[in-house]
């Protein structure tokens, strides 16, 4: 009944030396859904998504995106394929303004003398950024000042606007509400809903269970590098999820015991 997944991760393993950060993980994400990825600190969530977004190269297993097996050699490789990521360690240059960040690495240029002389088309980039922000119902005090003058939530909005502008086929957000005040957290959740309405699938990493229950359709829990469960939001609750996060419950172990 379901459409084929946008992203399919199979038997994915990533080690750092002897440390197995991601251990044989399977995960699917379908069009238009928000999938929450949960787990204690060090469970391997960030490492898993960094394999998908081209920061790390996985040791074994496969990643299939939009029906094609992929192995990205760099983050820009992944972004060019339509996987936009908001990293936990924020991936914006705080000394640059909004448009410079939205277009960083993919600047629009004006060419003169047959391309011999080029200059940045700042006007175009500013207009497009303003439009992307407007479509997300985000208002910023200024598009021209460096984004270090913006609040944490506003910066997340800029990162999301970047993904929207570049027409992301998959959005990955690593703890996007971390270090934000409550109103700002709410705003980010609204933005995630907006993304879903537009049909952009989202992988949301979060520690915050109320957030997850508010916006996600499904969740997967990791523990010590392994995926220990995967459930529809409607079929679980916070208490149960916590049990999985601390390792008290483990679907893979139960099947082992059953079998």
């Amino acid at each position: 009944m379901e459409k084929p997944p946008i992203l399919s991760i199979r038997n994915l393993t990533k080690n750092f030396g002897g440390l197995v950060a991601v251990d044989n993980v399977d995960l699917d994400i379908y069009p238009g859904e928000v999938l929450a990825l949960l787990g204690d600190n060090g469970a391997g969530k960030s490492t898993l998504i960094k394999c998908v977004s081209g920061v790390h190269s996985h040791n074994s297993g496969s990643i299939t995106f939009q029906g094609e097996e992929v192995r990205f050699s760099s983050p820009i490789d992944a972004r060019n394929r339509g996987i936009e990521t908001i990293y936990q360690d924020l991936a914006l240059a705080n000394n640059l303004d909004v448009a410079s960040n939205v277009f960083l690495g993919r600047e629009k240029e004006k060419k003169y003398l047959g391309g011999l002389v080029r200059s940045l088309d700042d006007e175009f980039m500013r207009d497009c950024s303003a439009e992307a922000l407007k479509s997300l119902h985000v208002e910023l005090p200024s598009l021209r000042s460096p984004i270090e003058t913006l609040s944490g939530g506003q910066r997340q909005a800029v990162a999301i606007a970047r993904a929207v502008y570049w027409d992301a086929g998959l959005m990955i957000m690593d703890e996007p509400t971390n270090n934000l005040g409550v109103p700002e957290q709410k705003k980010v959740l609204e933005l995630i809903n907006t993304l879903r309405e537009r049909g952009v699938p989202v992988i949301l990493i979060s520690h915050n269970l109320p957030d997850v229950f508010a916006v996600a359709d499904r969740l997967a829990v990791m523990h010590r590098g392994r995926k220990v469960t995967e459930k529809k939001i409607s079929e679980t609750n916070s208490e149960e999820v916590v049990q999985y996060m601390v390792g008290a419950l483990d679907d893979t172990r139960e099947t082992e015991m059953a079998g």
Partner: protein, 376 residues
């Protein structure tokens, strides 16, 4: 929703006086430079007791000639420091350029080539030779991840040795006398007093008496420096190259993940710093009609001082070429002015040093005030 009304409350937190102080601190270097010039205009005739004017054609041109090497060294340095690096080798690279361009020029001329081709050969030799040094710096910094401070410190010793070796530990002389014109003649000439006037493009044929009253306005090295400055301003503000330089200085990881070719860009930055130093060496060779292996080193610290006074943060991510120009002007105006006031030369160093520290203090205070207003 939440974002817009929060910023409104932020705005109202700024009082008029705070805004005034902030904007003053933003442009303090301009104000400081203007004040210095004013002070010297008033003080020089009074204290020296003559009718010498600080802003005379001759003196202003002397200042311009004096800042060209500092400025050229500072230009490349501005790019490098904005990217979060530093290049300590540019002083000796300039010396090296002075020596090798003199050798190339002399060899080309002696082999029977016309003078202008020999001069061009000198320039190309300086650019290629120094570009290679910059490439060496850049590759080790970007690929092998050795801190720029250490790499360029090492390089500066290596280049120093090379410069002394190539010059055989002495000044490279025996250049064709026409070289002097390239290094010292100018776009315009001005002769004071009776029988004088303005002359354009060609040196006027006048009596020895009038010649003594003649000033050269915009000498060729000044012109070439101005050209390089204009290009640098454009590149830093208006091009991808400039944008990447700021991005790398602001957040290297973010730049990498956004797809900025960080490693190759860093390599280009060190090549740029070396090449501008090379041009400085070439121009000083023209000016003195000789290659000198010791010409550049004393200018290294002045050039870094100019960059810092101009507001470039040593932590990277901010600064401008115009700032560096102002910084270089402040240093030149200070030193020239103090000389004209007959202040002993050691005071120049003390004052310049104080201004450097003052500049950083002002920038820091400004950032603190900004942050306070921002979150308050």
């Amino acid at each position: 929703m939440g974002s817009s009304d929060k910023s409104a409350s932020k705005g109202s937190g700024k009082s008029a006086s705070q805004v005034l102080i902030l904007s003053l601190m933003q442009v303090w270097a301009w104000v400081f430079l203007a004040c210095l010039v004013l002070i010297f205009i008033v003080a020089v005739p009074i204290i020296s007791g003559s009718s010498v004017s600080f802003l005379s054609v001759r003196n202003s041109q002397n200042i311009l000639v004096a800042i060209t090497p500092v400025l050229l060294l500072g230009l490349g340095q501005t790019f490098v420091i904005i990217s979060g690096g530093i290049d300590l080798s540019v002083g000796w690279v300039m010396s090296f350029a002075s020596v090798i361009s003199a050798l190339a020029l002399r060899a080309a001329y002696d082999s029977g080539l016309p003078l202008w081709i020999a001069v061009l050969a000198g320039l190309i030799t300086a650019i290629i030779g120094c570009g290679a040094i910059g490439l060496f710096n850049g590759v080790i910094i970007a690929k092998l991840k050795v801190p720029p401070f250490i790499v360029t410190l090492g390089t500066s010793f290596i280049v120093r040795g090379m410069a002394l070796l190539m010059s055989e530990n002495t000044t490279v002389i025996g250049l064709p006398s026409g070289v002097r014109d390239y290094g010292n003649e100018s776009l315009m000439y001005y002769i004071r007093g009776e029988g004088g006037g303005m002359y354009f493009f060609t040196k006027p044929e006048v009596t020895v008496d009038l010649l003594r009253k003649m000033d050269r306005i915009i000498t060729y090295p000044v012109l070439m420096t101005a050209l390089v400055v204009a290009i640098a301003i454009y590149v830093l503000r208006r091009t991808k190259f400039g944008r990447y330089t700021y991005a790398i200085g602001g957040n290297q990881v973010a730049a990498t993940r956004a797809g900025v070719p960080v490693e190759s860009h860093i390599i280009k930055l060190y090549v740029l710093a070396s090449v501008t130093a090379g041009i400085a060496g070439f121009l000083s060779m023209l000016r003195f009609t000789a290659g000198s292996a010791v010409i550049g080193d004393p200018l290294l610290l002045s050039s870094i001082a100019a960059v810092i006074i101009g507001g470039v943060s040593l932590f990277g991510g901010s600064g401008s070429i115009v700032g560096t120009v102002i910084g270089a002007l402040i240093i030149a105006v200070l030193t020239t002015g103090l000389v004209m006031l007959n202040v002993p030369s050691f005071w120049q160093f003390i004052v310049v040093g104080a201004v450097v520290i003052l500049a950083v203090l002002i920038d820091q205070t400004r950032d603190i005030i900004k942050a306070k207003i921002g979150t308050g």
